[in-house]
């Protein structure tokens, strides 16, 4: 039984990793651009399909396609920022939020038009999972978890050590003060999209690798991403990572535990409901996030 619970934990960490990569971006964008970016899930989808495009076009492996997908998603995000968001920057946040829902529709339908509605995978064929102390984990899944850890370390080094990272934190802390102390806010915004979209694409590829490619890949997980962002305290990227792990693990545990304890029913199809309950509970009782006192 302990093994079964540990197995669920691994699945939870796996789901949490994918959510974390995107939630960091949502949190950064909220902190710096001050709006909830609803197109983030579909940016993940676009990233996942860019990888597929590169693989089919060149015959390369998914790992060669990965940097291409990241770069392409960054360019798409920068294009949307230039064409849509930048024009609305001086308006109210709710207008940017609605605009991002529009961008989400554009992205999702572009994927539908280009790649069609069918479910597909990067590489067909079934690879047997590795076994370790009775736990099962696939090679891809191990790479996803290690890849996420590496990306989070890179992000942390960027935010803490580089002056651009410091400028981003400064702008999230106090945008007006950042402007008048000479911080180039346009560059900060550019970097926010580079990091946000790059990590979203990484999350999208990982999610598609673990499950399957479909046009609603990212949209379906957007609720979990927002839940993680809220759990971590909106605008705090490290909080978002912790929040993502809480969401991922509780969704998997909640769905799988009844089975572990011998129930003949399962909550698997209620994973989104568990996430939703978590988000509502947080908004009601701790809207400032799990850690830290200030809102």
């Amino acid at each position: 039984m302990l093994t079964d619970i540990l197995q669920l934990l691994i699945y939870g960490i796996l789901l949490g990793s994918v959510i974390a990569l995107s939630a960091v971006g949502v949190s950064l964008i909220f902190g710096i651009l001050r709006f909830a970016h609803f197109a983030h899930g579909d940016l993940m989808t676009a990233g996942a399909y860019f990888a597929l495009f590169f693989m089919t076009a060149t015959g390369a492996s998914i790992w060669l396609a990965f940097p291409f997908a990241v770069l392409a998603a960054i360019l798409v995000a920068l294009a949307f920022d230039r064409v849509v968001y930048r024009r609305l920057r001086r308006t109210r946040p709710v207008i940017l939020l609605i605009a991002s829902i529009g961008v989400a529709f554009i992205l999702r339908n572009a994927v539908l038009v280009i790649w069609g509605p069918d479910i597909t995978v990067y590489e067909s064929g079934i690879k047997p999972p590795m076994r370790f102390l009775g736990l099962r984990i696939k090679e891809d899944q191990l790479i996803i978890i290690i890849g996420t850890v590496l990306l989070v370390i890179l992000l942390s080094l960027f935010l803490q050590r580089t002056r651009m990272g410091k400028a981003m934190r400064a702008m999230a802390d106090d945008p007006d003060l950042a402007r008048i102390t000479g911080i180039d806010t346009d560059r900060v915004i550019l970097w926010t999209w580079v990091i946000g979209a790059g990590l979203a694409a990484a999350g999208g590829v990982f999610l598609a690798l673990d499950t399957r490619l479909q046009p609603t890949l990212g949209w379906d997980i957007l609720l979990a991403i927002f839940a993680a962002t809220i759990l971590g305290g909106i605008g705090k990227p490290y909080g978002a990572i912790a929040g993502a792990m809480v969401v991922g693990i509780s969704a998997e545990l909640g769905a799988g535990l009844p089975g572990v304890f011998g129930a003949d029913w399962s909550l698997t199809s209620y994973k989104p409901a568990i996430t939703f309950l978590l988000m509502v509970a947080m908004l009601l009782w701790r809207p400032q996030g799990l850690v830290g006192g200030r809102a």
Binding site: A170, D174, R179
Partner: protein, 268 residues
């Protein structure tokens, strides 16, 4: 004590001509004109409601004047936003000190200078070595500033945890990260304990004498103004009432009338 106007005869660094600003029906600043000579410490005083803060806000780009002009070193900068003025060397501090509370004291200083290559997306990756050298130089400069202000022992502390007085020092430190031409200090003494006040006063004097900063101070503390300022400008009812050394201003009957004992000169 200093001469009446230290740099008389030289072109003023800041020249304000007939500035007007109304809020509703009230003319907070009503045709004020003044000049700040390069290299001076100028005190801006006046009773409450005299329009000092409004004038200050307009010079620093936070308020748009209804009419009038602001010239910085001969160039018209009227109505420019604060970050453009920053680029031209005009920096300010706030009455209630503004700091990046969720960042360390050192990081608060390190984010200041603009136009570093560490902020360019492409160069950050292409010329990593150069960026690192620059960052090291900026860090060294930040540490130098912190040592000068005796804030080095709290350099890793979050700015949000500093006392009000320490935040004022940190703001002063922020101006030192650039090579400012004109520093506007908004009530630097407000809410600062006497020990820290003496320090602050020394720092301001050093920055003026040794680094050549031109400084303008809005302040209610007459002792601070009297001990620091080369020239004092007195405002009342939105206009400039008098200008001269502290002694000259003190002797001015109009100035005495304007204060009406409301804010008594603490040294008499």
């Amino acid at each position: 004590m200093p001469a009446t106007v230290a740099a008389a005869g030289r072109a003023p660094l800041l020249a304000v001509h007939s500035l007007v600003k109304s809020f509703g029906g009230i003319r907070a600043v009503d045709g004020a004109s003044l000049e700040i000579p390069a290299g001076s410490i100028t005190g801006l005083i006046g009773p409450n409601g005299a329009g000092k803060s409004t004038l200050f806000g307009m010079v620093a780009g936070f308020l748009k004047p209804d009419s009038g002009t602001v010239l910085l070193d001969g160039a018209d900068v009227t109505g420019l936003p604060p970050h453009r003025l920053f680029a031209r060397g005009l920096v300010r501090t706030f009455q209630i000190p503004a700091t990046f509370d969720r960042m360390t004291v050192r990081d608060n200083l390190m984010v200041v200078p603009a136009g570093q290559s560490g902020e360019s997306v492409w160069r950050a990756w292409v010329q990593w070595g150069r960026v690192q050298t620059e960052d090291a130089a900026i860090r060294a400069r930040a540490d130098e500033v912190l040592a000068f202000l005796s804030l080095d022992h709290v350099c890793e502390e979050y700015a949000g945890n500093l006392s009000g007085g320490q935040k004022k020092l940190l703001e002063l430190g922020r101006t030192m990260m650039t090579e400012p031409r004109l520093v506007l200090l908004d009530e630097p003494g407000a809410g600062v304990n006497p020990t820290l006040m003496a320090k602050l006063r020394e720092h301001i004097r050093t920055l003026n004498r040794e680094r050549g900063y031109t400084i303008c101070i809005v302040e209610h503390d007459m002792d601070l103004i009297a001990s620091l300022c080369d020239q004092v400008i007195v405002m009342a009812e939105g206009k400039v009432l008098a200008r001269g050394s502290m002694d000259e201003v003190r002797a001015n009957a109009e100035v005495r009338a304007a204060y009406l004992g409301g804010v008594r000169d603490s040294s008499t």
